[in-house]
Amino acid sequence: MKKIVIALVGQPNVGKSHLANAISGSNLKIGNFAGVTVEKATARLSTEDFAIEFIDLPGLYSLEDFSADEKVTKDFLLTGEYDLILNVIDSTNLDRNLMLTTELMELQKKMVIALNMDDEAIKEGININSDAMSKILSIPCVRVSSKLKTNIDLLVKQILHVTKNSLVTPKLVYSDEVEEQLQTIVRFLDDKHFRSPNSLSNRQIAVGLLWQKKEIYALMHEQPLYIELQPLLNNALGHVYMYCQCDDIEEVINRQHTAFAAGLGAEVLSVSKVKNRNLTQKIDTLLIHKLFGLPIFIFLMWGLFQLTFTLGEIPMGWIEDTFGWLGETIGESITNEALKSLIVDGIIAGVGSVIMFLPNIMILFLGIALLETTGYMSRAAFLLDGFFHKFGLHGKSFVPLVTGFGCSVPAYMAARTLKNKKDRLLTMFIIGFMSCGARLPVYVLFAGAFFEESMAGNALFAIYIIGALMGLIAAKILRVTAFKGEDEPFVMEMPKYRLPSLKLLWFVVYSKSIMYIKKAGTFILLASMLIWFISSYPKNILIEEEYATKIEALQAQLEEAAPAEKTEADSEAKAIEEATANAEIKEPASIEDAIAALENEKHEKLVERTYLGIMGKAIEPAFAPLGFDWKMGVATLSGLAAKEVIVSTLGVLYSLGDEVTEEDTSLREIIASNISLASAMAFIVFVMVYLPCLAATAVFAKEAESLKYTVYLVIFTFATAWILAFITYNIVNLLA
């Protein structure tokens, strides 16, 4: 079986991912992140004789490396290994899409054009004569709709056909004058029997030279014949400039391509009725309205967080119950104490507390995917640019920042859409302030513990907003100190509003959920076991025995209390410290209380002497000014591995440290009764700001291409988190 690699290329939002999805059906395995396509994502499809692999490259408007993102695509197209370019075109915007197509044609590769969104084009009365277009370009053009899956088979057939046969040079013609100059250069190269080392044709070289492409110049500069070539080239350029009456080559190229695209459009495009087309315009009059635009935006965001909380609450209860039941049932059937503790207190408590938040995560990712696929994301950027600009950010920073609410990893990658390196770094520095999905469990837990249910959604929204605002302030500070420099221009397409297909949405949410569950099943499982182990060992027999005797003594008292009103406290009971000594009081109920208190004390002491306790005690002084007890300190540190681990660590620590009684099962209640409001607020602030997880930090290092900035990031986030948490703790303490 032969393998075919197909590069999917198109302008942004033409439906590349959707098309890959439609072609490969259920075989699709795109590691695509919510929203923006950044990494090269591949999908596989097997036909009779071929295994087809699609590479979904980031969308780009032209082959100029304007942003880092577009550079990925350009570099791949120029140097990557692939058999064929599948150029995806939005049929409803043929004119502009053809500008990229003409550039792709200059690459002289095997090519097939998919005229996507045919369904929409038909609705809008746009008709493209694909047969005529195929003939004119010498490239098979197929009208498809990835939404309705029409003509997908035909497209695959054409792809196979083109791959099997040898390259048919695409027909891209320039104006007569330019063609004449190109001929002169080609003739010269042919006469010299010039063969380019990387198998470019001489026409390609001529075009590259005339269009002043750096790569081609670099190549030709090394050739001895360059000396003779140069005057020829000067002459040719002079002619072209004179003919075009302008001396900017980019403008010349643009005019040539525009003329070609316009000519092609005139031949193949016919527009009948003008219907529907203004729908986007109508929606926009409201959504980017001078006055209403921003309030609507804020309302939508608020709605998303309300939904995340209130809707997510329902299945959360079920999941919590299920894990509680699971823990009990399994606990009962295991006799070995250590094993039972590992499974119930370690694994089930740890993994359960993370899985519980799956519904919230799904809703959040659904929201982000909706923002991106409907086209609202660029409206938000439009609305916010003025505001962002004041803080030294760029309207486009909005996309990575919002993605950051999902996960920092794709957010760092999404920052590639920013052209300017300083803007990019600045945006990446404050992505951490946009609380990622993994931090959501921590917030939900604490918001639920300290606020009424009706207020919890608002509290959650406030946490996100405050985080974002702190990010903006940080941006401003960084902008006037570390990242001084020129602003990047703001030019951005406002794509059409589109209802995304449910399948695509489901695909995004589904793959996110699977990723989350996988993480819970592997990484968090291991982390939970580790935390359980270091929080259970070494066992301290001495303490256990000491308390066992104390408790026994009290129990004996309890039994005696029934018959005789007053009993002499025996000698052993006297040895017990104050707290219990006072419990000499006769009421059986108070003796029971004393027993419970002793139990708690025992657990407390036991945990304190484990490896984790020792570690926690060691770092406690660093966190003490923030009002954290050592358990919270340990939780923040373990959160470096992954933010969800904070919750599972708290789960393990508090379920071990406390006697878990029937009416006090949920972690939320334990936290509400064990942590003061001020400490809790400081904890939230700390979690909001400190370093995103290690995985994200690694991606940051890769994207920033600098160790220096990575170290800065670590110091910056920790210092800011500590200071802000300190302030919060003291303010809340003052107010309370």
Partner: protein, 75 residues
């Protein structure tokens, strides 16, 4: 010289010239803002930071600073 930032809402104009530097110029071209194209200003944001222009089948958002670089003539 009349530039795009001076154009009122809902007015149609022709692009005469683009006075931008290299990369920005290319970007404007590839978004369809080429010389000779007809564009219409359809929305401006509250503090006149950004404008939205419609051209052909698509729409582009620009900051005022960039709009100043686009020389236009009224139809």
């Amino acid at each position: 010289m009349v530039d795009l930032s001076q154009i009122n809402k809902n007015q149609k104009v022709l692009i005469k010239q683009i006075h931008a530097q290299n990369t920005l110029k290319k970007r404007l071209f590839s978004l369809g803002l080429g010389v000779g194209k007809e564009v219409e200003v359809v929305e401006t944001s509250l503090q006149k930071n950004t404008i939205k222009v419609a051209l052909g089948f698509s729409a582009v958002a620009l900051r005022f600073d960039e709009a100043k670089m686009i020389e236009v003539e009224a139809r």
